[in-house]
Subunit: 211 residues, 2 copies
Amino acid sequence: MLEPLMHRLATQRIVLASGSPRRKLILENIGLKFEVVPSTFEENLRKEDFEFPFDYVKETAKGKALEVAKRLAKDARPPDLIIGSDTVVTMDNKIYEKPVDKEHAFQMISSYMGRSHTVYTGVVMLTPKKGNWDDFNITSFHAGTDVTFAEVDSDTIRKYIDTGEPMDKAGGYGIQAAGGTLISGINGDYFNVMGFPLHLFAKHLVQIYTS
Amino acid sequence: MLEPLMHRLATQRIVLASGSPRRKLILENIGLKFEVVPSTFEENLRKEDFEFPFDYVKETAKGKALEVAKRLAKDARPPDLIIGSDTVVTMDNKIYEKPVDKEHAFQMISSYMGRSHTVYTGVVMLTPKKGNWDDFNITSFHAGTDVTFAEVDSDTIRKYIDTGEPMDKAGGYGIQAAGGTLISGINGDYFNVMGFPLHLFAKHLVQIYTS
């Protein structure tokens, strides 16, 4: 849905404030031109301070985007748009981020067997007012996607973890590769499970550039 | 879920009887070793002869797999497994395959606006009995995934079609690239929308190789 905007977007300096190779891939696949500037924002907000997990991911996404904005605001050509994003898995009122080790990944994945959990991604888009980063607009949204796992035995889970795929991913699995075989279905935006809610992002991008 | 089987699968001659680059990508992404032998089966079964679209896709998938089996059965090293697959989009009791031209693609995509349709993929897996293709086992299954489109204007649809993405795809869109921006959500297996129901395939592969 971005095709009518692509000429305009091509003139913009768009910055993805995330080092996630999956977010980069999703945005590349739709033909967007952007640069990647991973945020150094320390992801240590107290989860207990947030009533809902989607508030937590949006606040972390904002922290990431603001840190990059501060760093690039004085560039000779400052950004026109900065995109921050954060993803977690939630189940039984717990928030799962990246596993700390293989055993942690095993606990996470075992808990998904034969049931559903929800993946939340928060996105924050910052745009300078009048081209000046002294003041800027904040667009913030989130998406939740339910993911249903099949049941497999412990040996299969451990051998999946041995592939290394789970370790750098929120919730300890990658839906786009071998982890996808374990998932019987999803309900919501697939790209949100990969780490970026593509449809809502496109929708907000259209709103920003046509208003 | 195939990791415990990967050693065994690596010794097999596995043939994907489909020229779809998306099916190839899905199977490559899970680390499966296989070769691609596109079927020459003419996809001209009479849709009226089938009560349900999922019967139609399974019968077409079988036709594709059988044609390749016939061709490769006398190889010095015949295949151990042949995989056929076919995908259609269904809505209002109509079956949509690949668009014949841009106007056809426009009609298809326009009809999806603001509502859901269902993507069906049928898969047939053939394995020789006692290593001999004079007799073989047939495993057949299908998956349906509901896909919900957002509403966009005609100009946006036409500019999306101008990218060329819709023309070689059942239903006239590609969920994995720019078409993904138009989709607010899905219910079911994502890979099924790309053309191959990954979870059910893995499940049946495990059954075939552990029984």
